[in-house]
Amino acid sequence: MKIILSLVIASLIGSNVFLKSSDELEKSIARGKMVYSENCISCHMGTGEGVTGTFPPLAQSDYLIEQQEESIRAIKYGLIGKITVNGVPYDNMMPSPGLDDEEIADVMNYILNTWDYKSDQPMITAQQVKLVKEE
């Protein structure tokens, strides 16, 4: 009986947590869309395709998935120098857009859940962003 009860409680908590985080993610994505259109769109373009050879793509970007901490660091502190995205070299500069930790989490969540991204990435939180330090 006890076991069943705790299973029920656990599943209730679990689904609550799931519902809550899904709702949180939706809100974060919506805020992230605004952040994107104000700070990122003029270089990375409306559907994240970038400008090949000049500004790297954010949609379907191997860099964004495989080097997520680097990606967050780039948004937080700016990025300068050579990187390779989807096999194409980029040697440009992104000035720090001056976003706070929540805005950075929001824009990451927007990017990772838009443009047919099949990344299934867990939600990024402001707390995670806070832990990323400048190198």
Binding site: S37, E38, S42, C43, G46, T47, I80, P95, G98
Partner: protein, 392 residues
């Protein structure tokens, strides 16, 4: 090609006597050879690029002082001095509170045309909202001050103008400062991401303002008698103008502005004009949505030229120096996006050719001709100022 032009000269000269024929033929062929030779030589063979300042953090603009020192603004909110090619580690004090966020920070610098006599230095920057100012809490907008440099300090600081209202957003501060040599100063202002405000004369967003060099508003400004309009406004309907240069010989004020996708513009700025943003534009929004179906409308100005794709123009100078024989009288425009300069050949007020020069130079923030006649270019990515001069 050569045959044809010689034939034309021959025909034109036929009625003018033998001597005239000889002279014009000689001149024509001489000029032909000169042009061909010049264009066969690469830019690198004709001009040299020297680094005159290095180690800067996010430099935005530079001003060459009469003694050869260079003052450079860093967008992070610092004003730096460069002496003999060495960055002075001691920063200039006396700047006001500056918001370094998004596209904001310490922006342009320019010297008064009579700087040698009066010492006035003009600076533009993102000024955070002060108590009593209208607009968003934690917002900011572009401001203009002038001050004098004494050692490593700005003194006699005078706050001349602040664009209002304050806006809490990251983009589009404009910020370019230019003088016409007749006692007026012009400042360009971006629309701070609120495009419709560019058409609202009660707001300073998306405008170019004109002031006396002491900050007073000229009584002959176009909207001084317009109800609710800011009397400082000279022109309106701009998006994010970051190129401004006055041609003292012709009296033409050239401006360029970052447009939407495919809609960067070069304009001639004239009193009271509406440059159309966002009612007319050649670009579309970055999310690929249509901003306006119209590119032309009565009462709104057409650009002299526009860039598609956008180059993100930043900085512009008018070459006024016979040392640069093939650029003299033309415009040089920087590109933030593609890391090069464009040479815009002018015939009167028309652009007849656009040529990419100095590819991979860097993320260009500022282009200007110094009092020594050379071209100074500020590169944001490498934290440098470079000088372009002709090779002997």
């Amino acid at each position: 090609m050569k045959m044809n032009s010689n034939t034309n000269v021959w025909r034109r000269s036929l009625g003018q006597g033998l001597a005239a024929i000889t002279v014009s033929l000689g001149l024509a062929s001489f000029q032909n050879i000169d042009t061909a030779a010049a264009s066969e030589k690469s830019i690198e063979e004709r001009y040299q690029v020297d680094t005159v300042a290095t180690g800067l953090t996010m430099p935005w603009a530079s001003a060459l002082l009469p003694n050869g020192d260079l003052l450079v603004t860093e967008r992070v909110g610092k004003l730096r001095l460069v002496k003999n090619g060495v960055l002075d580690p001691q920063e200039i004090t006396g700047l006001p509170e500056i918001l370094y966020k998004g596209q904001g920070g310490l922006l342009d610098i320019n010297l008064h045309p009579d700087y040698a006599k009066n010492g006035w230095i003009y600076l533009s920057y993102s000024s955070p909202k002060k108590a009593g100012e209208p607009g968003d809490d934690a917002g900011a907008n572009t401001a203009l001050l002038r001050a004098k440099l004494k050692g490593h300090a700005l003194v006699e600081v005078q706050h001349l103008f602040k664009a209002l209202p304050n806006v809490k957003s990251n983009p589009h501060y404009g910020g370019r400062i230019v003088f016409d040599g007749k006692g007026y100063v012009f400042l360009s202002l971006g629309e701070r991401g609120q495009k419709e405000k560019a058409q609202d004369l009660s707001k300073d967003q998306g405008k170019i303002v004109r002031l006396h060099d002491n900050g007073k508003i000229p009584t002959d400004n176009p909207f001084v008698k317009t109800k609710n309009a800011d009397p400082a406004i000279w022109t309106y309907g701009h998006r994010n103008p970051q190129g401004l240069i006055y041609n003292k010989k012709t009296g033409v004020l050239w401006e360029h502005e970052h447009g939407p996708q495919g809609g960067d513009e070069l304009n001639i700025i004239e009193k009271g004009n509406n440059y159309g943003w966002p009612v007319i534009t050649y670009g579309i929004d970055y999310d690929n949505s249509i901003i306006s179906e119209d590119t032309v409308k009565a009462g709104m100005e057409q650009p002299i030229t526009f860039w598609r794709p956008s180059i993100a123009p930043c900085g512009m100078t008018l070459v006024d120096n016979s040392k640069f024989e093939d650029w003299n009288g033309d415009l040089l425009v920087g590109s933030l996006k593609f890391w090069y300069l464009q040479h815009l050949t002018l015939e009167g007020n028309k652009v007849t050719k656009r040529e990419v020069i100095f590819e991979k130079l860097g993320r260009v923030r500022d282009v200007r001709q110094g009092h020594d006649g050379n071209i100074y270019v500020v590169l944001e990515n490498s934290g440098k100022v470079v000088r372009i001069s002709p090779k002997n």
